[in-house]
């Protein structure tokens, strides 16, 4: 199979776990007394991709490109304007409550800021046991034992169960967030800038942990990031987003070694090079800014087709 959305290798016939098609999420901006629609944020505009089990798809782009809105739309935290999100072959948009609940159990999210994503008044034990309790997965004693196992899996000692989040560093908190995500044995983890606020050495540890867990349980990961160098390490496939659209998608190796879209090239050129001998003089991008995704209410987005570069690599035509 060969479409812009899927397959890192053409022989890879694993059935996709997540299929996103033509996803559009817009936000109305209202103004005036009557609350008339004065404009719309075209946050996500016709995004399509698949993720197969055990695969990491990285969604890269800068603030405002819509990458987090894609994640939140998949997690049903935003209501998409149109499109389709299928999970294990079942449509989630307008799907039954039962299907959505099952999805919520199997898909977990890890957020950027480990300080605001843990409840400061809950012990770690309670933080880890709550999701299992909600889904009625055992007695309190069983859940506590399971919480201790989870903590051990993310390399934290079980004595930490009765501590509160304030006792932990950023990296430890992010491990706790990962342990919480693992509590329900997820098939999909959406990591939204999950390592962006961590120190580099801690960042490397957390990513290695995610990759270990993925290999161990063939979890599919949607890894949202702005950091091309991190993405290069951990992704199987990469989708580059710009102004709500995927402008380039393909297997990690070919996107990084032969980037086709001008925006992908620009992103790659701005990564700091950890070698003083290769210090750039200047990059000549002095004041360029990312354009706004706010459009007038009658705006009709132009649909540009995607061109196939190789069997596993697609790029949107640019003008």
């Amino acid at each position: 199979m060969s479409s812009p959305t899927s397959a890192r290798k053409s022989q890879d016939l694993a059935r996709p776990l997540v299929e996103v098609r033509d996803l559009v999420t817009r936000f109305d901006l209202r103004a005036g007394l009557m609350g008339r629609v004065a404009g719309r944020v075209h946050a996500v505009e016709g995004v399509s991709f698949d993720i197969v089990p055990g695969e990491t798809l990285a969604l890269v782009g800068e603030s405002g490109c819509g990458k987090s809105t894609v994640a939140r739309s998949i997690m049903q935290l935003e209501k998409p304007t149109s499109g389709s999100i299928r999970y294990g072959g079942v449509e989630l948009l307008g799907g039954s409550r039962h299907d959505v609940l099952r999805f919520r159990r199997e898909a977990q999210m890890v957020f950027q800021d480990p300080f605001s994503s843990l409840n400061p008044r809950m012990t770690i034990a309670r933080t880890l046991m709550d999701p299992m309790r909600v889904h009625r997965l055992g007695t309190t004693a069983e859940l506590r034992a399971r919480a201790a196992e989870l903590l051990a899996r993310v390399d934290l000692p079980p004595e930490h169960l009765d501590r509160f989040p304030h006792a932990f560093s950023g990296g430890q908190r992010q491990r706790i967030c990962i342990a919480r995500a693992l509590a329900l044995d997820p098939k999909l983890i959406i990591a939204d800038e999950a390592v962006a606020s961590l120190d580099v050495t801690i960042q490397a540890q957390v990513i290695n942990l995610l990759m270990d867990l993925q290999r161990e349980r063939s979890i599919a990961i949607l890894f949202i990031s702005h950091d091309m160098a991190v993405v290069e390490r951990m992704a199987h496939r990469v989708a580059v987003m710009y102004l709500g659209e995927i402008v380039e998608i393909g297997d990690r190796r070919s996107v990084f070694t032969s980037p086709q879209h001008p925006y992908t090239r620009k992103l790659l050129s701005t990564v700091p090079v950890a070698d003083p001998a290769r210090r750039p003089t200047t990059r000549n991008l002095m004041t360029e800014e990312i354009p706004s995704a706010v459009r007038p209410p009658d705006f009709v987005p132009i649909k540009r087709p995607m061109r196939q570069v190789s069997p596993t690599h697609w790029v949107r035509e640019s003008d």
Binding site: G170, A229, R233, P276, L285, M286, E288
Partner: protein, 317 residues
């Protein structure tokens, strides 16, 4: 600013990191000597955040102070501006000698508050990580830049605004005339950081401290700001103390590097020495952790980061 008149003792200065107690070399702007900073935790207990840090900065030089959260790098920088005492910090020892524009050398740790106020902005300025919380949301950015010029240089408001406009142009804010009358919320993160740099430059300080100035910005904007700092340094030749945890950024911007761990400088050297011949295990771990673009070019499958864990540091929590 060619100030080298007052100090002619010229005692031979020993090798770099620990400067002589007596004279300050002619081209040295700042000399931090055995600085110790402690915070009161309770009535009896104190926490020593900086434990005997020494470094110097020469004219036109960029020194990067590198370390992870909690290493004491920001506390060191804020103390140079004498800002930490508002957070309950105390300078427990050492001194910070600064060559003023007038040519005199003063120990910042002993200056009275009134003198320190005059020094902030005109001799040393600082740019923080988050430009939104360092700008006042209810004043126009042009007026915020002009404020320092009026205060430190005694200019009239129209004069100061004209200078502020020049500063905005200097930091390459497009459409600067119109931007003068904008409020901070009307600007993007990158533009706000440019405004902060313009403000920091407004009184032509001899030292600018940049405390993680690009951490909150997007990568393309980070590249722009680094370009800008480099260009400005060539244009006006000021010294920069650049605080960061990102070795990638260090490689791009620094002349010399001091690596901080738990309140101490564990290694210092030129940027080439640090990157090519790091001696300390912690420095090696920091460099190894930086993802290098292109390192995976010949590989199909993802690979974990090589871990060089520095165990004695306890950073591997």
């Amino acid at each position: 600013m060619a100030g080298s008149v007052t100090l002619n003792l010229r005692v031979p200065v020993p090798a770099d990191p620990i400067p002589s107690a007596a004279a300050l070399d002619d081209d040295m702007i700042l000399s931090v000597e055995d600085l110790r900073i402690s915070f009161a935790l309770g009535r009896r207990r104190t926490f020593e955040a900086v434990r005997g840090v020494s470094f110097t900065i020469r004219r036109g030089e960029t020194l990067a102070l590198v370390g992870e959260s909690g290493s004491g790098k920001s506390v060191t920088a804020m103390t140079i501006m004498r800002l930490t005492e508002y957070d309950g910090a105390q300078i427990a020892g050492g001194r910070i000698r600064m060559r003023m524009k007038s040519g005199t050398v003063e120990d910042i740790t002993r200056l009275p508050e009134a003198r320190v106020e005059r020094l902030r902005g005109s001799e040393i300025s600082i740019v923080f990580q988050d430009p939104m919380s360092s700008l006042n949301p209810v004043f126009r950015v042009g007026d915020q830049i002009a404020e320092g010029i009026i205060r430190h240089q005694g200019k009239s408001r129209p004069e100061a605004r004209a200078m502020a406009l020049n500063m905005l142009k200097l930091v390459r804010v497009p459409d600067a005339e119109r931007r003068m009358d904008h409020y901070p919320h009307q600007l993007s993160g990158g533009m706000r950081q440019r405004v902060m740099i313009a403000m920091a430059l407004a009184c032509r300080p001899s030292l600018m401290i940049l405390d993680e100035p690009t951490t909150a910005l997007d990568v393309t904007i980070q590249a722009q700001i680094l370009d800008l700092v480099r260009t400005l340094q060539q244009e006006i030749g000021m010294s920069v103390l650049f605080i960061t945890h990102d070795m990638g950024v260090v490689a791009e911007i620094a002349d010399r590097v001091c690596v901080m761990l738990k309140g101490k400088i564990v290694e210092s050297g030129t940027v080439e020495q640090i990157f090519n011949h790091a001696q300390h295990g912690y420095t090696q771990a920091l460099i190894a952790a930086v993802p290098r673009l292109g390192s995976m070019a010949d590989k199909d499958e993802p690979e974990p980061f090589p871990m060089v864990v520095y165990s004695a540091g306890g950073a591997a929590a």
